[in-house]
Symmetry: C2
Subunit: 330 residues, 2 copies
C-alpha cells in the first residue's frame, strides 16, 4: 500500500480510502490510485485488514463430515443465508470430538467472526467448553440447555410422525434403526418419538426391533438389514433415523430378496436430495433445512453485532413435514 501511495503521489490513507470506496475521494485522485494499483498489481493483505478491523467477514461452519448428503444440504442453506447478509462461509471438517472442541477454542479465534458448530461427537459433559466469549451457535441436538444459542431439529415430534405413518400404512412390527443412544443425542430423541408412536397405536415395544448401528451410513444400513433378515427377525416396517441409513436398508433388503414397500415399508429422516431418486423413492421427514439455517445465521449475527454484556442464550426447534413416497407405498 505504501508503494502504491508513493507511485500515485498520495498518502497510504488515500489508497485505503479508494480501496474501501469511501465517499470523499476526488475522481481524479481515485483514478490515479487505481492506475497505480493496477500497474503494481497490488492486492490488499487480508490478514492485516482483519487484524486492524477486528472482523473478517467470514463465518465458520464446522461439520463432522463434509462428504455426507445431510451436511452438504445443511451447508447449502447456511451459505445462502450468510450470503444474503454479506458474509462468506468457510467449512471445516471436525471428524472427532477432539476437533470439535478445538474448533471452539484457541486457534480459530479471530479467524472467523463467528462459528456455527454442527456437533456430533460432543456430549452434555462438554457443555462447559462451550462457554467461550466469541459468537457461537450450535446446530444440531446435543448440548441442550448449554450456554450458547442453539437451533435444533424437531427430532422427537418428527420421529413420532414418521413412525405413525408406518402404523397408518398397516405396519405392526416396526423396527427402528438408529445410532448409539446416549444422553440427548439425535438417536435417543428419535427413539423416544418412535416409542411414543408405538404406544399411541397400542403396539408392543419389542426390544429386538431396536437396531443400533455404529455409523449412520448406507453401508451400515445395508449390512444390518441383511443381518436382520438372516436372523429371522419378524418386521414389516423400518424407521431409519437418517435417509442414508434408509437407502442402505432398502439395498440390504433387496439383497435378501425382500421387496420394498410390498413386504417391508421403510421411512427415513432428512429428505436428502438423493432420496427422491432412489428406487424406490424414499418416504422421509423433511426438516426445514433452510429455515434452520436462516435462524442459525440470524442468531450468530446477533451475537457478532452485540457489543454489550452477553445476553441469555436462545433455543429454537425447526419445522418439519412428512414426505410420502414409494418406500411406504405412497
Amino acid at each position: 500500500m505504501q508503494d502504491v501511495a508513493k507511485a500515485a503521489g498520495v498518502s497510504p490513507m488515500t489508497v485505503s480510502n479508494v480501496i474501501n470506496d469511501h465517499p470523499n475521494v476526488r475522481p481524479s485522485t481515485r483514478a490515479k490510485v487505481l492506475e497505480a494499483m493496477a500497474r503494481l498489481d497490488y492486492r490488499v493483505n487480508v490478514a492485516a485488514r482483519n487484524l486492524s478491523k477486528g472482523r473478517t467477514g467470514v463465518i465458520g461452519l464446522a461439520v463432522p463430515e463434509v462428504n455426507s448428503a445431510y451436511y452438504g444440504r445443511l451447508a447449502v442453506g447456511i451459505i445462502a443465508a450468510a450470503e444474503r447478509r454479506g458474509l462468506r462461509v468457510s467449512i471445516e471438517q471436525t471428524a472427532s470430538r477432539e476437533n470439535e472442541l478445538d474448533a471452539l477454542s484457541l486457534s480459530r479465534n479471530h479467524q472467523y467472526d463467528g462459528l456455527i458448530l454442527s456437533a456430533a461427537g460432543m456430549s452434555q459433559a462438554d457443555a462447559e467448553r462451550l462457554k467461550v466469549e466469541h459468537p457461537v451457535v450450535v446446530l444440531g441436538d446435543r448440548i441442550f440447555g448449554g450456554p450458547v444459542d442453539h437451533v435444533a431439529m424437531p427430532n422427537l415430534e418428527a420421529s413420532r410422525v414418521a413412525a405413525r405413518h408406518l402404523v397408518e400404512r398397516g405396519c405392526r412390527r416396526i423396527a427402528i434403526m438408529c445410532g448409539a443412544v446416549e444422553e440427548v443425542n439425535p438417536s435417543s430423541l428419535r427413539l423416544t418419538g418412535y416409542r411414543q408412536a408405538l404406544e399411541d397405536a397400542d403396539l408392543p415395544a419389542d426390544p429386538g426391533l431396536i437396531q443400533q448401528v455404529g455409523r449412520l451410513d448406507m453401508r451400515e444400513g445395508a449390512r444390518r438389514a441383511r443381518e436382520m433378515t438372516q436372523s429371522g427377525l419378524d418386521f414389516d416396517g423400518v424407521f431409519c433415523v437418517t435417509d442414508s441409513l434408509a437407502m442402505g436398508v432398502i439395498r440390504g433388503l433387496a439383497d435378501a430378496g425382500i421387496r420394498v414397500p410390498d413386504q417391508v415399508k421403510v421411512i427415513g429422516f432428512d429428505n436428502v436430495s438423493d432420496s427422491e431418486f432412489f428406487i424406490p423413492s424414499l418416504s422421509t421427514i423433511d426438516p426445514d433445512h433452510d429455515g434452520m439455517a436462516e435462524r442459525a445465521v440470524d442468531l450468530l449475527i446477533r451475537r457478532i453485532e452485540q457489543t454489550g454484556p452477553s445476553t441469555r442464550h436462545r433455543d429454537f426447534i425447526g419445522d418439519f413435514s412428512l414426505v410420502i413416497r414409494e418406500s411406504t407405498g405412497g
Copy 2:
C-alpha cells in the same frame, strides 16, 4: 498477551515463546506463564499471528458446489492429504465463474497459504487470470496448459474404457449423457473418449445418441431419460459422464418401465460412495481420488515453500479403474 506478560511478571516475548513451545524457557517460567494464561482466559489472536508470520497454516479448497457427492469425495481426499502435512483446509463454494475468479484474486490473499481450485465455470479464456503470484493448484479439467500447476482426471482414456465396457456387454446403440460441450471441459473430453470407443468397435456414430443436459445431477438425468424413451429413441446402453446423472437415468428409465440392466445397460463416472448401494448398483469409473488429492496438495506445498523465482508449472493426470456392478449386468 501484554496482560498475560504483566500478570506473569515476564515480557510478552516470553509468553510467545511459551505458546509456541520454544525450547529455551525455564520450566518454572513456563509454569508461571501458563498459570497466568489460564487465569486470564487468554486466547491467541490468529489474525495477528498470521500477519506477523505471513503464514496461516490453512489452505483453501474452492469447489463449485458443496452439496455434491463428487466434490464431497474430493474434499475428503484433500483434507486427509493436508492433515498429513500439518495443514488445515477450509472449503468454500464458488457456484459461479465470477466467484471462481474472485477466489483467485484480491480478497483471499493471505487468508490462506494456498488455494486448490476445482474449477467448473472458468473457460480457457480465463487462463490469464490464473497468473497470480500466490500458490494455486487447479484440480479438474479446464485450463489445460494454463499458467498454474494442474491435476486432471483421466477423462479421455477412462471414458473410452467405460464405453468399451458397454460394447463388450453387447450394447450396439450406446447413448452418452453429458453436459455442455465446449473447449476442453470434462464433457467434451469424455465425449471424445466415447466416440473413440464406438469407432474402435466399428459402431456408427449417431448424433441422436448424444444427449446434452444442463446440469449433471440426478434430476436432469431422470428427466432426460424419460424424454429419451418417450421420443422413441432406440438405445441399449447409456454412458453417463457422472454417477449422479447415471442414477438419475436409471430412475427415469424405471419410471418408463425399462429395466436396467436387462433392457438397457448404464455406466457412470466418479464412483461416488452411493453408487455401490443404488439399486441396481452402478458400474462406473473409479478415479484415483486420493491419489489426485495427494498430488494436488503436494504441488501446492511445493509452491508454498518455494521462495525463489516461480518455476514452470506441472501437469498431472490421475489414475483410474473400471468398476463393474449390476447396472451393466454385474
